[in-house]
Amino acid sequence: MDSPMHGIVNTVKAIVMDKNATLDARGLMCPMPIVHLAKKVKEMKTGQILELLADDVGAKEDVPAWCSRTGNQLVGTETEDKLLKFYIKMK
């Protein structure tokens, strides 16, 4: 799915995805990205967007699961090779 349209959509997404904070969980294996995520979220305000970086294979399913369980909204994801980027809107 590497059409020019895909590239444009991604660029637009990147511009629109104005993040308020980044949590770098690269190098951490499940469950640590989620544990650190829960901790970080306590410092954030409703409506803010947190960017979470992870390269753990488990994170792909862990993060959406965490979001659905806690009522926080996963508003975007990006994959760059092994690097996973999640954009979570705080409830």
């Binding site: 190098g27 951490l28 499940c30 640590m32 989620i34 995520l37 829960a38 369980r69």
Partner: protein, 134 residues
């Protein structure tokens, strides 16, 4: 209403030490109220100055495995237990086991509470999930 998540641990090896901490911290991160009940040989894991080893022949590889875990962000057992307590996870030692094995309350790690079977079963009955870890 917060979901309750209970675990029972009856063995004292390295793997059984980490399983409730890993699952417990994840559940707590997802908003659950976590209760972990240690009984029989699991009591070793909530007593001071115990160093759990991998089971059987693997005991020799404990140090190496621990290093690998540290590398991916999973802390040492005591440290992770403290983190778990900070997240509100409840750790209990079985009162009967303590009596039978001569474990005193002062032998328990700080923050570990004492609980009996009936009280634990009440928690388990109210839980969405109860797991027997080992």
């Amino acid at each position: 209403m917060t979901d309750k998540f209970c675990m029972v641990v009856s063995e004292g090896t390295f793997d059984k030490a980490y399983m409730p901490l890993i699952m417990g911290t994840t559940a707590a991160a997802m908003g659950s109220e976590v209760h972990v009940f240690y009984t029989f040989f699991g009591t070793k894991l909530v007593t001071k100055d115990q160093k759990p080893k991998l089971p059987g022949m693997f005991r020799l590889f404990t140090g190496m495995f621990q290093k690998r875990m540290n590398k991916v962000g999973i802390p040492a057992h005591d440290e992770m237990m403290k983190q778990a307590m900070d997240m509100g996870i409840n750790f209990y030692a079985c009162s009967t086991t303590m009596g039978l094995m001569g474990v005193k309350e002062s032998d328990l790690k700080p923050g570990v509470k004492v609980l009996g079977a009936a009280a634990f079963l009440k928690l388990a009955g109210e839980s969405k999930t109860t797991l027997f870890i080992g």
